[in-house]
């Protein structure tokens, strides 16, 4: 099976005031379609940086990245944006919903950016909200939702667009234990039922019980990569 995401010799060095801080020091990684992969490691190990580069949100200092067969590390900002819009779903730690839009409108936002007609995008967004069990909250604004509900809307936003892969940066970090567990089970269900590929960074040990693969990063290097809990 060909990998859906691939990193080859990836390095990233942040520089500020003449001080260079390496975040990634030669990461090689392949993610296969349908995998439910966690990237773990202590703070500062490069988890978020790796996700951002693989998701075309940031550029590596050196190395190559691929989405399917397509090389992505050299794309210009407009092509990167187009690729993210069409192929990649994102879920962020801080939910990052748009406060003036309802849950339904937030879930439909990526489809709106794609130019999908209103009726079609709202149908798809509603289906995503239903899949996440929050259809009854469709017309509430983010400030009328709990943290767990907001994170579900964020997942619905990624899900409604039917991307090839969903990248999630510490998706349960801001949730209470019950909401976090619920979200983990939900993502796992989408992975199993729809074969969606998930790659996420986490500190949450509960999440690791559901993953099929754990990639451990330390000081910007992959120190272990093991397949577990095979479905």
């Amino acid at each position: 099976m060909k990998p859906i995401l691939r990193a080859v010799g990836l390095t990233k060095v942040y520089g500020s005031d003449g001080v260079s801080t390496p975040a990634l020091r030669g990461v090689d990684l392949e993610v296969l379609p349908g995998e439910f992969t966690a990237i773990v490691g202590p703070s500062g190990s490069g988890k978020s940086t790796l996700l951002h580069i693989l998701g075309c949100l940031d550029k590596p200092s050196s190395g190559e990245t691929y989405l399917g067969e397509r090389r992505t590390d050299q794309l210009d900002p407009v092509s990167s944006a187009r690729l993210r819009l069409q192929e990649i779903g994102f879920v962020f730690q801080a939910y990052n919903l748009i406060p003036v839009l309802s849950a339904l409108e937030n879930a439909a936002f990526v489809l709106e950016l794609r130019g999908v007609p209103k009726k079609v995008r709202e149908e798809k967004a509603m289906q995503a909200l239903e899949a996440l069990g929050i259809a009854d909250l469709a017309h509430r604004r983010p400030n009328q939702l709990s943290g767990g509900q907001q994170q579900r809307v964020a997942v619905a936003r990624a899900l409604a667009a039917e991307p090839q892969v969903i990248l999630a940066d510490e998706p349960t970090a801001n949730l209470d234990s019950q909401s976090g567990l619920s979200l983990i089970e939900l993502m796992k269900r989408l992975n199993v039922e729809r074969g969606m590929t998930f790659l996420f960074s986490t500190h949450d040990p509960r999440l690791l019980e559901h993953v099929t693969r754990i990639v451990r990063l330390e000081d910007g290097r992959v120190v272990s990569d093991e397949r577990v809990n095979a479905a």
């Binding site: 900002p77 944006a81 187009r82 819009l85 990052n96 406060p99 003036v100 936002f109």
Partner: protein
């Protein structure tokens, strides 16, 4: 995008209301000033054309003429017949201007004696506006005269007194005695001290039998000035009919200084509006930029999920347009009501004489043209777009990862 822009604009209601309100005030200010400029222009043109006509038919040599003879149109009756044949029913004044010495019992002054024969409606208006006491010399009378009030005062003359006029070097009798029948009061005191009015026939008998200095042709009827194109069309017709030796001038050509002042009013108003829109634009920049800074994380998320820089920039422009157009809509509505109300006529009690001194009527009728509304709207849209330029440029350069980490 527009719905999102609308909601974003009202996230900070107070700030947006203040900014939109400022735009509304600027739009009201601009349109009301435009309407008064228009009223002033129309009023000045009306005053001028009421007094001197829309077109003047003169001797072709009159412009550079230094002597009385060269300024005369001879064969006035034939010319008048030709004029009326070309423009049947047109209102007209026949004028003969004679430089002369006017004397009372004890004093004399050099003045311009004006022989005047007007169609009835023009005569009625002249009488209504300028006659202060007595009456105008009767049409065709050879021994009646009216003087400007200041002149009568200078000469120590009153109604019923004898007045002696000497017009040496002219072709008529050159001297004659009249009875003062009327006192005229003009807005310009200097003019009032230098004019005396006779009937046309009286002036012709005194100085130039069968001649006039000019015909003043009044086009249209009622309030308002005929369109420039119409005036020029009539000028062309008269020029071809009356032939060489006769010059036809529009009111603009006859009064180039005033025409230049009137032509400068709109451009001056546009420049003035430009500066007040610049001030409004600075407020809009502030509001839009603050809105951007407070929502950098949001813009970061939008970029992260796939909005490209042009999309983000369009959102900023949309917010600026929504904000400014909301203010403009209020401004248009309020100024529309104000101008509609004022268009029935605005008087300035106590300032009649001051207005008249500047060639303005006592009542102004403010109105705006579609072009002026279009200029105002163009300014508002330009303000919105220019005010959004910098915030949009900043937003378009945001890097998603940095933007999502931003702390306002």
């Amino acid at each position: 995008m527009w719905a999102l822009a609308w909601r974003n604009v009202w996230r900070h209601k107070a700030r947006s209301i203040v900014t939109a309100g400022a735009v509304a005030v600027v739009v009201i200010f601009t349109l009301v000033f435009f309407s008064f400029t228009q009223a002033t222009k129309t009023g000045m043109m009306e005053v001028l054309t009421n007094d001197f006509g829309h077109l003047q038919v003169k001797s072709a040599r009159a412009k550079d003429a230094q002597d009385f003879d060269a300024s005369l149109l001879r064969g006035a009756a034939e010319l008048e017949a030709a004029l009326l044949e070309e423009l049947p029913g047109v209102r007209m004044a026949r004028v003969l201007e004679v430089p002369a010495l006017v004397s009372g019992e004890t004093r004399s002054r050099g003045v311009l004696v004006i022989g005047l024969k007007q169609d009835p409606t023009l005569r009625e208006r002249f009488e209504l506006e300028y006659l202060a006491a007595g009456r105008l010399p009767s049409p065709g009378s050879l021994d009646e005269i009216a003087l400007g009030e200041a002149l009568a005062r200078t000469l120590h003359l009153d109604i019923g007194d004898p007045v002696y006029v000497f017009a040496p070097g002219t072709e008529g009798w050159g001297a004659s005695a009249y009875v003062l029948v009327g006192i005229l009061k003009f807005p310009q005191a200097s003019y009032e001290g230098k004019v005396a009015y006779l009937s046309l026939e009286g002036a012709q008998e005194l100085a130039a039998p069968g001649a006039v200095t000019r015909f003043e042709v009044h086009l249209g009827a009622g309030r308002g000035v005929p369109r420039e194109e119409e005036i020029h069309r009539v000028k062309e017709r008269l020029t071809s009919v009356l032939g060489a030796g006769v010059s036809v001038e529009t009111w603009r050509e006859a009064s180039p200084d005033l025409a230049a002042i009137l032509d400068l009013m709109d451009p001056a108003m546009v420049v003035f509006s430009f500066f007040i829109f610049v001030l409004a634009g600075l407020l809009v920049v502030n509001t839009i930029y603050l809105g951007l800074v407070e929502r950098i994380r949001e813009f970061g998320v939008m970029i992260a999920v796939g909005a490209d820089r042009w999309r983000v920039m369009r959102m900023i422009f949309a917010e600026s347009l929504v904000l400014v157009l909301a203010g403009s809509a209020v401004g248009l509505a309020v100024s529309g009501v104000c101008i509609a109300w004022m268009s029935r006529g605005v008087a300035f009690p106590g300032l009649d004489e001051a207005l008249a001194e500047f060639g303005l009527p006592a009542v102004l009728y403010p109105s705006v043209t579609l072009q002026q509304v279009a200029i105002t709207m163009a300014f508002t849209i330009a303000t919105a777009l220019l005010a959004a330029l910098w915030p949009a440029w900043v937003a378009g350069r945001l890097q998603p990862v940095e933007a999502m980490r931003h702390v306002a």
